[in-house]
């Protein structure tokens, strides 16, 4: 079963704009991760945020976590064509086994 659900399912923006995607989950978590998947490739780990953290940054990525709302958001600033990919959140109640969401397909237009 899917624990996380990303929103929107698909997003199309112009290069240079910011992209925001959201993840909602159902049960309490130990931490939450975001992954990127380019077409036909495996997933690449982007960032992990622990349940006691509210915000985390990595380069052009900003992740927030609201455990009271059981939701997280991923913001990509100043997007580039190379950011075109599917983005997945993965949650874990234990930090041990992760369940992936359904993904957001991001298309950045040059």
């Amino acid at each position: 079963s899917q624990q996380g659900e990303e929103d929107p399912q698909a997003l199309s923006i112009q290069e240079g704009e910011n992209a925001t995607m959201n993840c909602s989950y159902k049960t309490s978590i130990n931490n939450l991760q975001w992954y990127r998947q380019n077409s036909g490739r495996g997933l690449v780990h982007l960032i992990l945020i622990r349940s006691n953290e509210r915000e985390k940054h990595s380069g052009r990525l900003r992740v927030t976590l609201d455990t009271s709302k059981k939701s997280s958001s991923l913001l990509i600033t100043a997007s580039r064509a190379a950011d075109t990919a599917s983005y997945f959140c993965a949650t874990s109640p234990s930090g041990y086994k992760y369940i992936f969401g359904t993904g957001t397909r991001l298309k950045v237009l040059a």
């Binding site: 036909g40 495996g42 690449v44 780990h45 930090g95 993904g103």
Partner: protein
Amino acid sequence: EAGVAQSPRYKIIEKRQSVAFWCNPISGHATLYWYQQILGQGPKLLIQFQNNGVVDDSQLPKDRFSAERLKGVDSTLKIQPAKLEDSAVYLCASRSPGRVDYGYTFGSGTRLTVV
């Protein structure tokens, strides 16, 4: 460090045939996972190994799927007999227990088409 290696990259088989996928994780990564990703969906965990022991195989269809990890290194996932609904990308991932913040490292996957 070298990545997670998977082979073959693509496989097309007829239903009721058998197929096997191979994964070589990153050296030293004790934890290994097999995921199934159906087109348009997120990856679904099939089985998790810790060294050569199975930690979680609750979502593995054991009537047709099997997996092993001999000597706690390479792993093989087998499907016998295959069904049309097994068409998917099979992803292998590994993780070092001491580097949780780095997440999983995934291989490029094996795309299986069952016709």
